[in-house]
Symmetry: C2
Subunit: 179 residues, 2 copies
Amino acid sequence: MADTSARRIDPAEEPAPSSEAPEIDFDLIELFFFAYRDFTSDPDHMLDELGFGRAHHRILHFINRRPGLTVAELLDVLQITKQSLARVLKQLIDTGHVMQVQGPRDRRQRELHLTAKGRALALALAAPQSRRISRALADLKPEDRSTVEHFLKEMVNREFRQQVDNLGHHEPESAEERS
Amino acid sequence: MADTSARRIDPAEEPAPSSEAPEIDFDLIELFFFAYRDFTSDPDHMLDELGFGRAHHRILHFINRRPGLTVAELLDVLQITKQSLARVLKQLIDTGHVMQVQGPRDRRQRELHLTAKGRALALALAAPQSRRISRALADLKPEDRSTVEHFLKEMVNREFRQQVDNLGHHEPESAEERS
DNA sequence: AGATTATGTCAACAAGGCTGACATAAATTT
DNA sequence: AAATTTATGTCAGCCTTGTTGACATAATCT
């Protein structure tokens, strides 16, 4: 029951990739779905115990990456609405994970910063994801990390590539890469 | 405004990756988030116009991949509850995208199949994702596709690797492949 | 016959998206 | 200086898609 394996049924029922559709890469599409599902599963479980959700994680992550970013910038990165952000952000502020400071140049702005508590949580959530990534890279050649990085970067819409580039703590990246 | 670039503020506020946390790979973590966000964006927009959501896409996808799979198997793959599935599946049946046929061996089971209409939609949704993937692979070496595939496969929890393997329409792929 | 299994369905709830409207303070423009 | 625009906050309410638990039916298995 619910044995998810062994089911090849009738070949006539296969999607017939060569004729109807010009080479749809179902394998990678599906793998990407599973990979992302499991990638988010570890932090999801931790968040659950704190009464938080994935939305909280995203906010913590981006504030951690760019301390001092403003609310507008965060909305821009997350591509959600003000209201969606507000609800979750408020919880993080109330629980002492995030602090707001009035913008120095423009006093209308609120710069977002993590507290020590927030930083600790952000790191704790990222840890299993990072471990998963390094396990996934483990039996690949060291150079393959940049292949994967390149692939993922190209998957991002052009309009947002810049966003991605700026977020990284990249060294100029001469010939080699990372350590 | 909301210029998402140029913000490096105070170096003291950086997460200090080397001391507090042992090498968290924030770059790939983040890239994976963006990549998946945009990966799903094209089909999401199309679904929107049909009054469907991402949940419908997943169902269409998996039925397309394994015509005749049962409800229990689908639940297993999607890892959602019966109720969550039922609601969405019902819509797809009512709109003529999915058909149910009584299981031949076990008449309690309902085998799920796409209609021509459902197949057409599944393909239409997959097309931009497939295009995105091949664009992302375009300036990599041809062998790098298997690097990416390997990476993604390793990102999946062990318990589900099998599921993934079985879903693919893989040729044996000679001397290679996992354990 | 009785238990288990596969599926369907009902009610109710929660998270986290969304919209539109409106308020305030600060900055910018006229 | 006044008017406008901008950055943020907040309110009310909606939708999708996830959740749980309970219960019904038919088919299969013991």
